[in-house]
């Protein structure tokens, strides 16, 4: 173990490593964004009255949950190019160059995420009481207004915890994009360790890098879940009191004696 190399690489990572670090974050965030939006759509299709639309959504979810995302990466990027179906070109977006393989990776990750999120969101929608839908109907709200003002917000209570789980998995799944040459953390670490023969040190740093990213996410999720508990709080409590209630380990509101 070369501690000076380890400390040096940890505190002064190379530009390549930093770029890879942010690439992982960006790829995950973008894929999650599209994944959630597509997931809502597929969840709604799955709950549609038409058998045909239901089946379509079911098939999509089945296929994208069944095939490993690594297979999709190679199929979409390398396979499509060789079969002359579609060749991903580098894209210049406001001065940022998005490499073809990054685009392919984002598309595959989004489509896979959509399949998982569709099931999570479907569960969330089904958890909303019929009475809430009746109430919005009676007030003259349209189907879409009922969905985005009442049903989807209420389903968040059920959706957010597994969604956080999914995002955590997504952050780590980006490592698989190395098979199509995306220069994310795993491939970059491999390259550096191959050049320096410091495999143990470099991969330790890689592990720490993933820990930092997921920690950032966990904190964000904590804040989000706190915000979602707004309805269980008294408006006249101070912010500190609210935090105390929400962040204690036993935060079962029904046992809250105050």
């Amino acid at each position: 173990m070369d501690w000076s190399f380890f400390a040096d690489q940890l505190l002064n990572p190379t530009d390549k490593f930093v770029r890879a670090f942010f690439l992982v974050i960006c790829m995950s965030l973008i894929s999650m964004f599209f994944g959630v939006i597509l997931g809502i759509i597929f969840a709604l299709l799955r709950l549609s009255k038409s058998i045909l639309i239901q089946t379509f959504s079911f098939l999509y979810i089945w296929i994208f949950r069944s095939v490993p995302v690594m297979v999709w990466f190679v199929l979409f990027y390398t396979g499509f190019a060789i079969a002359d179906i579609y060749r991903f070109q580098d894209l210049n977006l406001f001065g940022f160059i998005i490499r073809g393989n990054v685009q392919a990776a984002i598309i595959c990750l989004s489509m896979r995420e959509a399949a998982y999120m569709a099931e999570v969101i479907r569960g969330g929608i089904l958890s909303v009481e019929q009475g809430q839908v009746d109430a919005s109907k009676v007030l003259g709200m349209t189907w879409w207004q009922t969905m985005y003002r009442i049903v989807l917000p209420q389903s968040l209570r059920v959706v957010v915890p597994p969604m956080g789980n999914n995002f955590n998995i997504m952050l780590k799944t980006t490592a698989l994009a190395s098979v199509i040459g995306v220069e994310e953390l795993f491939l970059t670490t491999r390259t550096i360790s191959a050049a320096t023969f410091k495999v143990f040190e470099m991969f330790l740093i890689l592990a720490i890098a993933y820990l930092i990213i997921t920690m950032g996410w966990s904190m964000f999720q904590l804040v989000m879940e706190y915000r979602l508990k707004r309805h269980e709080q008294d408006p006249d409590k101070t912010l500190f009191q609210k935090f105390k209630i929400n962040f204690r380990i036993d935060n079962n509101p029904h046992r809250d004696g105050s």
Binding site: E129, G131, Q132, D134, A135, S136, K137, V138, L139, G140, M141, T142, W143, Q145, R149, I150, P153, Q154, R230, H231, E232, Q233, D234, P235
Partner: protein, 248 residues
Amino acid sequence: MFLEIDNIHKYYSQLHVLKGISTSLNKGDVLSIIGPSGSGKSTFLKCINFLEYPSKGTVMLNGEPIGFDYSGKLMNEKVICQQRRKFGMVFQNFNLFWHMNLLENIIEAPIRVLKKSKIIAISEAEELLNKVGLYEKRYNFPKKLSGGQQQRAAIARALAMKPEVMLFDEPTSALDPETIGEVLKVIEQLANEGMTMLVVTHELNFAKNISTRVMMMDEGLIVDDLSTDSFFNSQDNIRKTNFIGQNH
């Protein structure tokens, strides 16, 4: 007639829940609907504003057909959605939106559906909250309130849409005995202001006090539909006298 309901039938696949219910109300009438559980009272109420689509029958409000057009064809969902807001409805379980505070609950539909400006919606909502005695609680969330308070807020939410008819589906059945009174008082106040109302209730005394007419249903049929005085004084029907005897 202001509200005319004619020959409403409702089937749930094989089950014949409503077997031809007809009644009509003048503006300002209060009709109480009583009857044993499972007699179709709630279903009947839901068929009036097409929360459930009746299998057959006509509903006319102010001479305008609701839900089915003149040829008996179901109107499209958008039209039904617009017509539905002429009826305010209050549920047994309140069904306040639990992720919004009381004020947000009340301004939601006026802003989204009636496209009112937020300032106007809020000032109207505050007026309504004052009326039902919940102004101080306007920033509270429903689950932090008692059943009686929630139900009064639900009434205010329905009134914010300026409905022409109010439908009450057992408004006090889920309440603690000590909070029933405050809700009944609000409903009574509405009746005195001349709101046209249909009230499904088990509170016979309350029905006696506020109704212009009382209807009793059993097994999907009307047992009796009379003015309040004659309803409670006549002894013509054994099922009715039994029911009243049991529930008094």
